[in-house]
């Protein structure tokens, strides 16, 4: 979900996270994309997948808002990866 207002943003940050396979990158996307940013304005992020990479692209008005969002994302990403390590690999489709 994209937030309105971040088009005015002055700051950006991009993260590309490698996964062992394209499927696992898509799973991470499926887990991390659905929830909107808790903060209604001043920050937006977009998640995409290319091959085995999950890309996250942030736009924000202020540095501290950007920092909070990235930090929160990394916590959730870490949890997804731990879940995959404990209960993966994905069952064959």
């Amino acid at each position: 979900m994209e937030e309105a207002g971040a088009a005015r943003a002055g700051l950006g940050f991009t993260l590309s996270v490698p996964f062992p396979s394209p499927l696992e990158a898509q799973i991470a996307h499926g887990s991390l994309a659905p929830d909107p940013e808790p903060r209604k304005g001043g920050i937006s992020k977009e998640l995409t997948v290319t091959e085995n990479f999950l890309h996250v692209c942030w736009k924000a008005d202020e540095a501290r808002i950007l920092r909070v969002s990235i930090s929160s994302f990394l916590d959730h990403l870490s949890l997804v990866i731990q879940t995959m390590e404990m209960f993966g690999p994905p069952v064959p489709r």
Binding site: P34, D35, P38, V80, Q82, T83, F87, V91
Partner: protein
């Protein structure tokens, strides 16, 4: 029809739980609680951090206790809302990952419906008037025409929130929960201190009694007018009498012969006793569960998820976002019949109806 095993994950407040339920049988239901220091409440960030740290261990425990492997799980249910944002996201993220890893359906459950469905399952109550009381919720609910309807509720804070914040005033321990410790102290109370009593028709209000007791507690204790135990006793008696009154009002409106208490505050034996007395006076029966199911737990989410799944409802990933409020989408499970749901429902949401419907009772029973 083959047995369906559902994994339920719950973490909307300070409890994180994982439960496995197969066709109405609870196979396992472990839980961990984040307990803040006395005088403090729990904040979203620290609560989410606690859940992140132990949700996978609790999940492993649930599987081990049930003697199941991941392959035995047919679907993954989790709390979609209501609750606190950060903790909800933590658990939702794990649920989505598991559902995708295992290639099984995902079920986004309403936390309140979880309490009610588990209460019905455990107690066998057929069509009760439900008093749902916890740290985050205080509602009187009845099921009518495919929907849970709220007959009465708090107009400000939940009764459990009132109790928890009073505990902070006296720095009562939060271990295992502030409400439990207030209940133990109340048993030793000797004196009934008069406190504001605020029932408004079908509804209740607790912020007034809370601010009153916050203001007078230290003065009364310092002057020796009463003991902390007296305050605990007086607060419980007043709060619970209000709850009994609005429940009775709803029961009178519905002509109900059954009452069911769910939610963490429902563990309180004094509340159960007062409710039982009121029910007996009406020739009705009271149903209640013990702390395993009153307090937030994973199995109740699994059970509500099972009910959803049976009627063909699943949650698509793009619709699986968490929400802090209870009103969002979809209809609750049509109870009693596992019927074929329309194709739209099988693909998840987009329904414009809410599972919650406010309907004010037309009959107002005046007491006192």
């Amino acid at each position: 029809m083959p047995a369906v095993t559902v994994l339920g994950l719950e973490g909307s407040a300070n409890k994180v739980g994982a439960g496995l339920v197969r066709d109405g049988r609870v196979l396992s239901n472990p839980r961990r609680t984040f307990v803040p220091a006395p005088g403090q409440g729990f904040l979203p960030g620290q609560t989410a951090r606690h859940h992140r740290g132990c949700v996978l261990a609790v999940l492993r425990e649930a599987l081990q206790e049930a003697g199941l492997e991941p392959a035995d799980v047919d679907c993954v249910a989790y709390t979609k809302g209501p609750g606190m944002g950060a903790p909800l996201v933590t658990v939702a993220v794990v649920a989505r990952t598991l559902a995708q890893l295992w290639n099984k359906p995902l079920l986004g459950v309403n936390h309140c419906v979880g309490h009610i469905e588990m209460g019905r399952l455990i107690t066998g109550a057929q069509n009760p008037t439900v008093l749902y009381v916890s740290g985050g919720n205080t509602q009187v609910i009845a099921y009518s025409e495919r929907r849970y309807r709220i007959f009465g509720e708090t107009i400000d804070i939940a009764v459990g929130n009132c109790l928890d914040r009073f505990a902070r005033v006296l720095k009562i321990s939060n271990d295992p929960s502030p409400g439990y410790n207030i209940e133990q102290m109340a048993k030793k109370g000797q004196k009934l201190v008069e406190l504001p009593y605020t029932v408004k028709g079908m509804d209740v209000s607790f912020s007034g009694i809370l601010s009153h007791i916050e203001e007078v507690a230290h003065k009364m204790l310092a002057s020796g007018e009463c003991t902390p135990e007296d305050l605990c006793f007086s607060l419980q008696e007043t709060l619970f009498a209000m709850l009994v009154e609005i429940t009775e009002r709803a029961m009178a409106h519905c002509g109900s012969q059954e009452a069911l208490v769910v939610g963490g505050v429902g563990c309180n034996m004094r509340l159960q006793e007062m409710m039982r007395i009121m029910c007996a006076e009406r020739g009705a029966k009271l149903f209640a569960t013990d702390e395993r199911f009153c307090i937030d737990n994973g199995a109740m989410i699994a059970q509500a998820g099972w009910e959803m799944f049976r009627t063909g409802q699943v949650t698509q990933l793009e619709d699986s976002w968490i929400t802090q409020s209870a009103v969002w989408w979809g209809t609750p499970p049509d109870r009693g019949r596992a019927q074929q749901a329309p194709a739209q429902a099988a693909h998840g949401t987009q329904a414009s109806e809410s599972p919650w419907q406010h309907r004010r009772g037309q009959l107002s029973v005046r007491r006192r």
